[in-house]
Subunit: 408 residues, 4 copies
């Protein structure tokens, strides 16, 4: 059977599955699971269209990767068919380790293990299933493959991951201002000294890309109500674990129960297959089904949080550049103790502070390089006459102060 | 607080919430529940973008209703502000009675009760909550309000329901050929003798609308793989009920359990609040969470169906105009008995026939009326020189023959 | 210099120029002239965005041709690089013989010579310039090349010409209902027995394509006001020739003058290079510049027609299935004689009848063939259960009755 | 007759003509003339879709003005129906004084008279025709109307003029990165102290708007090839005037001739109706028709420039931040003298320097004001944490050095 299927995609029109191996990977349950994990957590509370999944994002990034490889080959770069398939697989599987609600619950299901570690782990397991045919993809993913520009296509300031998610998130939220011209940017990529560079005429597109990303952070990813919903879901999971670890039996699927009832270290997670196999059974539905049932739990804190969540009585959120006022926080906590009849520690579920940043979506110090017409390579921040580009790429950290609205 | 909120919508750009009452209805848990019920069931198995919900569809239909009211008023029709709010509420709530996966499971959760009956029931309950302010909306919905054209905007061949869903389903599947120009059709609506009519110059748009709808049926709604997925989910629920009714304890949320463990008649459903309250706790997550757990059930049939479903080993489906060959069906059933070690009756879960139609989306005999330039009213089928329009509007019934793929 | 340029196109995003020869053809003045010839004549009078040109259309059709060739090659058809370049050139140049305002004035500049004849003539001349490198393209264009399916890509019911113009005309008019999914249709093309066929799953797309085309005829191409504008422009040219042939000196560019002052037979046109060279100097500007000046001409008829045209006092147009009433026509003509002080023959410039058809955009008896899943080939009209498809593809002829509005 | 017509617009879907007076103004020949004046001059040489006209832009800006007025009224601003009609008329007519090719030839048809002066003049004449019903619109246009925020909607950093043209130019060029969310920005407008302000949550949209504008300057408006084409057209007109003023008879329409044969001061232009009436007969066609004929002129310079223009042998253009090297310029001029057999002064038609800026599209010191959530008003440059916004809004001047390509 020819497995070169074509998939309809509202964002790009059509996505082509390039090889049989890629087709089989997509069919694998590890990958199919991503169908049930929303790309942007609880964002749909504000933007009702934002229900797209990691599954769809991975396919989209795979599509752009094919465009990028074709562009670079047209410009004379040598990329062998096996390298092409491998870099396509690397991007396809880059998010396979995400758990329910993607970033929103990352710290609440398995603590201290980053989703990228789980991606690596699952790739290794798939590599066994597929008789080592993923080895090169794994090397590219881990940046141990000699042609390092291939890794940059998977993970860097201009990787196919963010080329896709910015576009896709814009599209599904309806925040049309976040749309970037991925196709145009990709057409301006080239490779110099084993590094991805952007040709000079692409400077304004890059500038627009950075501004669009910034807009998406504040308008979407770190939107107050989104933040509030995700914080509340996090607190719900935290409370459920707290109760479970104390031996309380809560309604939940067996898979979710596994992670509620014990604290698993990274070492245990990696060394015992049971953990990873159980992890691959989890998706958004496990959480949502449980949260609805927990609204009737006899633990006041858990029941109240879940009730608020389902009824969309989310936290009030203040986002500030400065540390929230301690006295105000304490006052509200005492108010919460009285109002909900809970102890001081439990009041922290209703009144708390935290930090947020646009970090989750950044790569740090890998800069964008511009290939000038004369052949020189410059950093975008010196190549452009927009003095602020450096600032745009920087991590911004803000404080949040959350509390249930009926306290005021 | 002014509740005139604006919601981003990838399909129409912005949706405005017109009044405080409408805002409060949207905030009500009955309506918020629709956030977790996919508009087109398992369609996302084929079109990964098709994850949009009844919630979003209802908002979209509400948006179009506002356009329609404005258009008719501009043309001199009298629609009072209360009528406007009521017809908007009627369309907003028209689908509030849908259960998990919309049509896909309609017959498998509560038998013999159509989702529209449940919508009526929930509207009555909301009417109590909102002190009778929904009475006119309910009259319009039930077609007992004197200005009957208002009902037609809610439910007829050209209602705002299908104006929205055709567009929205096209948009999210990426089947761009299903896109209809709702805005243009709405601008050509008028009212004659208390009936919605389309002005003559809109004939070609209506023709295109009917063809787009037909295309969506066969390309999307009744697509083989979609049909297969939804049939399998139905069989899973059927088996779960069969086991539950026999007293077998299956993992499930309490709400789902309620409907698995007993068969509720329409009379009981209507007369006992427990049923409707439990119903409003159900959404897609209850089903998906259970199905994943049931893959490990010790009932072979249920476990196998769920395993197949999760691993996307869907039924092979033949769609034909004629009755499938009985001998072939029987042969395959016997093969299934042997292969899966099940009895003849249980083999029917793996090999069966059924009928499908484009019925679910139709209204029957309410025809589209054209207002000719001379003032006469004609049926679209006589007004157009396209002899086939009548056929396009007709219900088409087909036979399906489904069986697990490993039987052949 | 590498001439593989990329051109921005609002319809498809980017258009790539595939080879140096194609680049040089585009740069040639014969082709550049198409920049100044509007694709859809006076359609912009109704749809102000419809200013796109034959130049842009030819590039778009070239883009789709590249998609089509790639699709067929992916399916195993053998198309050599030279054949690919030739079929691309054939579609690029298929309209190079169009004169000012495309179809609108086709009969009024050079009588009895179809624009396709002129295209052939210009291709021959280009073939000389480019040392015979267009020979294969010319054979494909004239359907004398052995692989006849290549000609079908250039000219047939599903050629790249109409794939582009339907989309492009929809796009620029804003009549979004005319949009067809060219990309999807192209992906479903195949070749059987040297003929282009559509794979069975494409049936609904083809049906939608035929309906979209039909909609575009009546909503755009044969729109009353468009028809009226083009008829008036035709009458202006007719009058100008009548006067010029009688020896009256009218303001005009030398090139236009050449065609106004003499009647050139097809034989003369073909045999004398002066005619074709002068023809390639003409574009929309020659006409518009002259029409504006002629508003001040001392010939009442010409001045009045031009004045009406510029001031947008277009003819009233009745479109009917039956012959207009002779008495009514005669009565109006006599009214015109009195009102404008002209003789009976001149009154015909203000009151006349004619026939229009959707013919100009059709190819006649070349049917659309469907490749059924079983391998059989069926005509679309028997493959589809839409009984009306045959009718949709048919030529429709209508009568028009035009008269200046101030006569009534 | 009800003149509330609806016009299809590819950019916004539909544009509504709000009142009979507005309809009549659109029908007036002064306004209809804008149908034949391209919005962005010779930009179509690079972006073949960019053929849209001042006519279409004016309608689009009128559409956005209606949105803006509705938004402000919804927020409680008092705008009377007459004020609404007037501000709509003011934006509709703001560009009515543009001559052929808009900015591209502004200095070459009538020297020293800005198109805005001509707009004012034509509005006054229309005001006479329409019995003073444009008086308020003229006051708003000239900023003498008491509610000064109405003028800001017509002309300021965030006026409906640039809200439309940025979008429209992006749309028709296909440079999708220039797309701005006009609708969203408009929804965030408000009025404080008789000034237009943007609500705080719109900061990122404004930032994106400024970046999009910047991108459009360099990618489109000041694109090398566009600049080259417009410079060449300017030089052609300059030469034609030079020859005409010396008494040489050149082919041209009478209207163009009027402006070639004499130099009209602003005073003469304003005081003598003949000038303005002749001006309103000019459009792009007069220029294009003449340029084609002038390719055969016996003046070497004019013939060569026109030949180059038609054959698209445009100037080579260097854009620099510094003054071009004088020696290099002089050397090339001497080369041109020899190559083309012309004197030193005439060589300047083939080798010259000039300055360009993004000025034409800016308003100078009218800043964008942000309405903070607390009620304070801040300048965008202090309200945003993007330090570079000030720079983005600044005028940038660059030097250009142009010469015919065959000189090197």
């Amino acid at each position: 059977m020819n497995k070169k299927k074509i998939i309809n995609d509202p964002v790009y029109g059509f996505i082509t599955i390039p090889t049989d191996l890629v087709f089989d990977l997509i069919e694998h349950p590890y990958f199919q699971r991503l169908r049930y994990i929303k790309q942007v957590g609880m964002t749909h509370l504000v933007y009702p269209g934002a229900l797209h999944t990691r599954f769809h994002h991975a396919l989209g990034a795979m599509h752009l990767m094919q465009l990028a490889v074709k562009t670079l080959c047209d410009k004379g770069q040598v990329i062998t068919p096996q390298e092409e398939e491998s870099v396509v697989i690397a991007i396809l599987l880059h998010d396979i380790g995400h758990g329910p609600f993607s970033h929103a619950l990352e710290e609440h299901i398995v603590k201290g293990i980053h989703h990228e570690d789980i991606s690596t782990l699952l790739m290794s397991k798939l590599n066994v299933v597929f008789n080592g045919r993923l080895s090169m993809a794994i090397e590219i993913f881990n940046d141990t493959y000699p042609k390092r520009f291939l890794h940059q296509l998977v993970s860097s300031q201009l990787d196919m991951d963010r080329m896709d998610y910015l576009n896709r998130d814009s599209f599904y939220t309806g925040v049309s201002e976040g749309v970037i011209s991925s196709e145009r940017i990709i057409k301006m990529l080239n490779v110099v000294d084993d590094s991805i560079v952007v040709e000079e005429k692409g400077i304004y597109s890059i500038e627009k890309f950075l501004v669009a990303r910034r807009l998406m952070y504040w308008q979407v990813y770190l939107h107050k109500t989104v933040t509030s919903g995700e914080q509340m879901l996090g607190k719900i999971l935290q409370r459920a674990r707290e109760l479970s670890l104390k031996g309380r039996q809560l309604f939940s699927t067996p898979a979710l129960n596994h992670f509620l009832q014990s604290t698993i270290t990274k070492e245990e997670f990696v060394s015992n297959d049971l953990h990873i196999e159980t992890f691959t059974c989890l998706d958004d539905a496990d959480i949502m089904a449980a949260v609805k049932v927990w609204t009737r739990c006899d633990d006041t804190v858990l029941a109240l949080l879940c009730e608020n969540f389902i009824q969309r009585k989310l936290y009030h959120v203040d986002i500030t550049n400065y540390l929230p006022d301690v006295t105000q926080v304490e006052n509200l906590r005492h108010k919460a103790m009285k109002k909900y009849g809970v102890c001081y520690d439990d009041a922290k579920y209703f009144v708390f502070t935290d930090m947020i940043s646009n970090n989750a979506y950044q790569v740090g110090n890998a800069n964008i390089k511009i290939l000038m017409k004369g052949g020189a390579i410059k950093d975008i921040t010196t190549a452009s006459d927009n003095a602020n580009l450096e600032a745009l790429a920087k991590t911004v950290e803000k404080y949040i102060f959350c509390y249930t609205k009926d306290l005021i």
